[in-house]
């Protein structure tokens, strides 16, 4: 079995210099929101971004 991708922790992501400013900003703003609503929005965001990726790169 290969090493699993570690479950991301918010603090570690914010402290990681490799994390994009966009993700840091999103995490910081989400910290003040209701966690259920924040995750729900994040899932919508992820699906929307995937849709954009498929469309722009013609991935079908």
């Amino acid at each position: 079995m290969n090493a699993a991708f570690p479950r991301p922790k918010s603090d570690a992501i914010l402290a990681d210099p490799g994390t994009s400013a966009w993700l840091k900003s999103a995490l910081e703003s989400a910290a003040n929101r209701d966690p259920i609503e924040a995750l729900n929005d994040a899932l919508v965001l992820a699906a929307t971004l995937e849709e954009r990726l498929r469309r722009e790169l013609d991935l079908g």
């Binding site: 079995m1 290969n2 090493a3 991708f5 899932l43 013609d58 991935l59 079908g60």
Partner: protein, 234 residues
Amino acid sequence: MGDIDSAAGQGSTASAYRTVSREKRPTRGGSLLIGRLTQHGPANYQFRSDENPSYYVKLLTSRGSKTLWGKDLERALTSGETRPKVGDLIGARRVAREAVTVMARRRIAGGPVVTEEVHHAHRTRWVVEKVKFFAERARLARRLRDEQADIRETVRAHPELKSSFLSVRAAQEFAARRIADPKDRERFISLMREAMAASIQKGEPLPEVRLRDPSRAEEITKSARAPRPDEPTR
């Protein structure tokens, strides 16, 4: 006929499957699953101890975690072009189902084989690559579909398409010789071009161009010219 990958889920602790023959049947290809590779490795199907050995790939997709199962996933991950690592954004696609015939042998508590049964099943063939690979393939497929493209220029920019364009040209020459109706001719060429483009877009291996090795050609010519020592002289 069952799927050998999922057939592994049909409880067979005392049986050993052995593939005895196979036949490849290309399909239109499944949709591309996109996600971050989070884990992969060999395991018994569905992580159940009473199932047959298989291989799994876990992805974190925009719709949650997804686990794929199939013996071919290991080959697809380790022998592909981009060889993704855990943490990479990848695409996974079923590209073909191979018909396989397997021999199920049953024995009692390590004793001799008591029964042998032939089963017909399918094994899925996968392409698992980094997402950029599929984007590049989509771009190449567009080039091949573009009938107005300058072929010489396109091949210069994408030498990997040379064999595909040669195949299109061969199809055109075949059609010109063998197909009388111009409409049928066009249709044949169009279908051929589309089939090749679809295969490229799916991520299947690109056809290779076999170049003639000039040194080998020279060697052959020389050996054809020079008489061998054991040849009779005239």
